[in-house]
Amino acid sequence: MVTLAHYLIASGLLFAIGLAGVLLRRNILVIFMCLELMLNAANLSLVAFSRFNLTQGLPDFNGQVFVFFIITVAAAEVAVGLAIIVALYRAKQTTHVEDLDALRG
């Protein structure tokens, strides 16, 4: 029997994996990919809650509309973020996070 707890724990574990990736990796593109993992973990939580909170036999579709918006915003964010990374690469010729220290005191 698969309960809401199972889905929430799966979402939490995926989020933890994404967070570990953001903290550990030093290539800026891989950090960005782990950020997308975290967003997807939140989406899974939302859809699970939407399915398990039934009103009159129907899921709560507000959660699914929220996920729709999150996916759209994430797609726009990836486009702009990758444009920034390409511009950064043009200027500095590196994607190694430790070489990007212009704002360091």
Binding site: A10, N40, Q56, A75
Partner: protein
């Protein structure tokens, strides 16, 4: 059947997620992320959110990951060098991760409302695409229009950020 599919998709998703973090070659990380997205779409289908599942595959696996792979190929990134394992940092990070996972289990297990199987949907539920569409265009219409504007601004931003300096 639900349980088998749930464990299959969840196991694959977490394995691919770990692959994103652990592979040193960025192309391997990107392909693992595609696998994670598709497993996640499988979980969405299990939760009977068919519209969201298809959108996940179309937008995330189909557009976002293709963009990532384009950029990785364009920048011609090499695999990261093998790093020496720093044992104290490794143990500290492992302790923090273990603490987080323990807390996660503790919070989720302590809620009695979360321990039930999903109640069956009503038989005349209709298509979820139709219901989500109705909600989007009636209650969330303003947000929908604003998202369209956001996408326009993002497109403009990408074009401007990609321009070379004009001498």
């Amino acid at each position: 059947m639900q349980a088998i599919l749930f464990w299959l998709f969840t196991g694959l998703m977490l394995l691919f997620g770990a692959g994103v973090v652990l592979f040193r070659n960025p192309v391997s990380s990107a392909m693992s992320l595609v696998g994670a997205f598709i497993s996640l779409a499988g979980l969405f289908f299990l939760l009977e959110a068919f519209f969201i599942g298809i959108i996940q595959i179309l937008v995330y696996a189909g557009a976002v990951m293709v963009l990532f792979l384009f950029i990785i190929m364009l920048l011609d990134l090499k695999a990261e060098a093998q790093r020496r394992l720093h044992v104290p940092a490794f143990l500290g990070g492992g302790a923090i991760l273990a603490g987080f996972v323990w807390l996660l289990f503790d919070v989720v297990r302590s809620q009695p409302n979360f321990q039930f199987a999903p109640a069956p949907l009503s038989p005349d539920a209709g298509s979820d695409v139709e219901r989500v569409g109705f909600l989007l265009f009636s209650q969330y219409n303003l947000a929908f229009q604003v998202i369209g504007l956001l996408l326009l601004v993002a497109t403009l931003g990408v074009v401007i950020l990609s321009k070379k300096e004009l001498k």
